[in-house]
Chain length 231, copies 2
Amino acid sequence: MAKSDVKVLGAWPSPYVMRARIALNIKSVEYELLEETFAPKSQLLLQSNPVHKKIPVLIHGDKPVCESLIIVEYIDEVWASGPSILPSNPLDRATARFWAAYVDEKWFPSLRGIGAAQEDEARKAAIEQVAEGLSQMEEAFQKTSKGKDFFSGDKIGYLDIAFGCFLGWLRVTEKMNGVKFLDEAKIPGLVKWAEKFSADPAVKDVMPETDKLAEVAKIIMARLRAAGASK
Amino acid sequence: MAKSDVKVLGAWPSPYVMRARIALNIKSVEYELLEETFAPKSQLLLQSNPVHKKIPVLIHGDKPVCESLIIVEYIDEVWASGPSILPSNPLDRATARFWAAYVDEKWFPSLRGIGAAQEDEARKAAIEQVAEGLSQMEEAFQKTSKGKDFFSGDKIGYLDIAFGCFLGWLRVTEKMNGVKFLDEAKIPGLVKWAEKFSADPAVKDVMPETDKLAEVAKIIMARLRAAGASK
């Protein structure tokens, strides 16, 4: 497929955009990244995702596909001859989807909560939640990886992408708050996994540098705090 | 498969539990419904879904599968020889998943918001959001049904299940608040769809009676308000 047939509306710091890009990389699909800025949103974005007006949007031919995990499943189904992203066994698929939903609905909101916290107490509580979530994910990793490098075994798969896309933001949060989440004594499997994931050929060029991401984080966190203060 | 090999931990008023039951009905899989009460939660539920401790849980053999839409996809994949629940085309699948997520993340929270509202103004705003969401879904219906009875065409599919499971609660909300959401003048496609869906053989025995559901609703809404008041 010609490069121009696949476009990703995105922005490099977005973990959700990373998901689409990693999935395309796994399938060796060339694509064009159209960088969105915070504001104003592009006409193409507004037209392609009129309901949520959010990135990422995958545009395949002239058809938009929205929502990062839906995009990942779409990529897996359309480019089915490439390496599989979802496990083949229905129970393993259900497990991968379960933990991906956990990461999105429970764990990442806690991570955001650290940056958005206005008081030390709320920040401490959020830090604790993030650590608890990581213990939960360590347990899931031990069960599903079965001694291999990734959640899905030998190769990066759905849950690796869903969770791994937040590693940049986890590292930035560690740095900005003087905490250590990726602690080998507590979550040895995930620490090793995080290294392997970040170094993977499908990932390394889209995983943002921590320092560069920290600059973006400062802007976003200031906005989150301002939004909280005006409530 | 023997009946006892498939169990659903659930409760009849839960829209999420309905999803699992409808999917099993579509596939003609016999199952045992183990009714959970509000409290205390059963040991089986706590063991089967230790992360969320929520219904529904599908227990297939000795393996638990959690989260209603994940259960629906699991059922579709395991009993693959029965009628398909997800569309076969990747773009149609992505579209169905997109609207199912919209219903769960945006639309149903508005519907709950009507019952939970403590002030008239908040209730009015929630009622408006629900109506807007229905217009959005009417548009989606017109696009995806292509003149057929269901979102997925001739037969009930993934999005029909995801959205249709809330019809009982929509009717209860209409009744308790003296509003008419299922209005033929505004959303003719959905009104007809709602009738067809509710009368479908896979659905009719699990769709709760509005009056019976209204009794449950009164209890839940009182709790929601009490929870809101104690914040």
